[in-house]
């Protein structure tokens, strides 16, 4: 099977994330991703996947593949990305996550920062959960939950001074069954490899963690795949069947 290069940014927030700009609507995300030359993106809002399908729909026919995902905050306040295949039923996963979020009555102004939209950028609702909070899932439970839905688990921005597996837990627990670790755009790929290469045998990825449209694509990886699916990405992370991932 012919393999080709796919440029990917697999850590992008939308207007559903309270810290994401409200301008992160599906069409804006898709437009900016295409302008940045991306072939695959993942929509990874904090503790929710509810805007991912709308971004996928907005990208239909553009050649941009959109994977649904989320950025789970664990009990230790470490962030872990869950990346899933298009079409995965994420209802059970969402229910499990929402049940583990703190039951803090949110102010109306707070909820209005958690905008659920359709593919035409129309506002369809507001998420009432405390998405900025941390779940009571341990890092192990979070990884198991992601794997249980066929997803890939990636430790977010492990170079950051807070909210990373390393900042919260000192080092990456060797028995944590992650599929990869991500660094933020604050480090170049070479700097990241120098800083972390000895600490973990896991593949090192670097994505944008975009909260604003102009940040989309500021850090990307190039995958050598047969197609833009999660299974192909899984193979690339494992270095199987000729699939590869490299810094761009």
């Amino acid at each position: 099977m012919a393999l080709r290069r796919f440029r990917a940014d697999l850590h992008i927030h939308t207007c559903l994330s309270p810290c994401g700009e409200l301008s992160m609507y599906p069409r804006a995300v898709v437009e900016r991703a295409r302008a940045a030359g991306l072939d695959i993106i993942a929509v990874t809002d904090h503790n929710s996947t509810e805007n991912a399908a709308a971004v996928g729909e907005a990208a239909a026919g553009t050649g941009l593949a959109v994977l649904p995902g989320l950025e789970l905050a664990t009990e230790e306040e470490a962030h872990i990305l869950g990346l899933f295949d298009e079409g995965t039923d994420l209802g059970p996963l969402l229910a499990a996550v929402y049940a583990k979020l703190p039951d803090i009555p949110s102010k109306r102004s707070f909820i209005e920062d958690q905008v659920i939209v359709d593919a035409e950028d129309g506002v369809t609702g507001f998420n009432p959960h405390c998405l900025i909070g941390a779940t009571t899932l341990t890092v192990y439970e979070a990884v198991d939950l992601i794997h249980g839905h066929g997803g890939l688990a990636v430790a977010s921005h492990v170079d950051r001074e807070a909210f990373s597996v390393i900042s919260q837990l000192g080092f990456i627990p060797p028995d944590l069954r992650l599929d990869a670790v991500e660094v933020s755009p604050l480090l170049s790929y070479d700097e990241a490899r120098a800083a972390l290469g000895a600490q973990t045998p896991l593949p090192l990825l670097r994505f944008s963690d975009a909260h604003r449209p102009e940040e989309i694509g500021r850090a990307t990886m190039v995958f050598l795949l047969a197609g833009p699916s999660l299974e192909e990405i899984r193979k690339a992370l494992a270095g199987r069947d000729g699939r590869e991932v490299r810094p761009s």
């Binding site: 230790e76 341990t138 919260q168 837990l169 000192g170 627990p173």
Partner: protein, 113 residues
Amino acid sequence: MKLSDLAARLDLKVYAAGAGLGREVGGGYAGDLLSDVMAHGRKDDLWLTIQVHPNIVAVAVLKDLAAIVLANGRVPAAETVERAEKERIPILGSAASTYELAGRLHGLGIKGS
């Protein structure tokens, strides 16, 4: 002051490695970012935290801390207790907050840097 004296004075519950309570405590540190504790914790410190992940034991070993005290009634994960027993790192606990515990410890002469 010895760990056993502090445990009695603060009414701390012992979760792991109770055999190691004869150790002398040199000072104190409080923090939930393990990376920060790795940077600033000192040998013989009593460490106050609400983290219960097994990695807390590794950090205590690395920095040669006297013991770990879990605040807010936090209970260590089973694997954390197992590792603490193996590494002989006492894990104690209290229903009091980190702030309250630090205040009481300071009053007993256990100082920070």
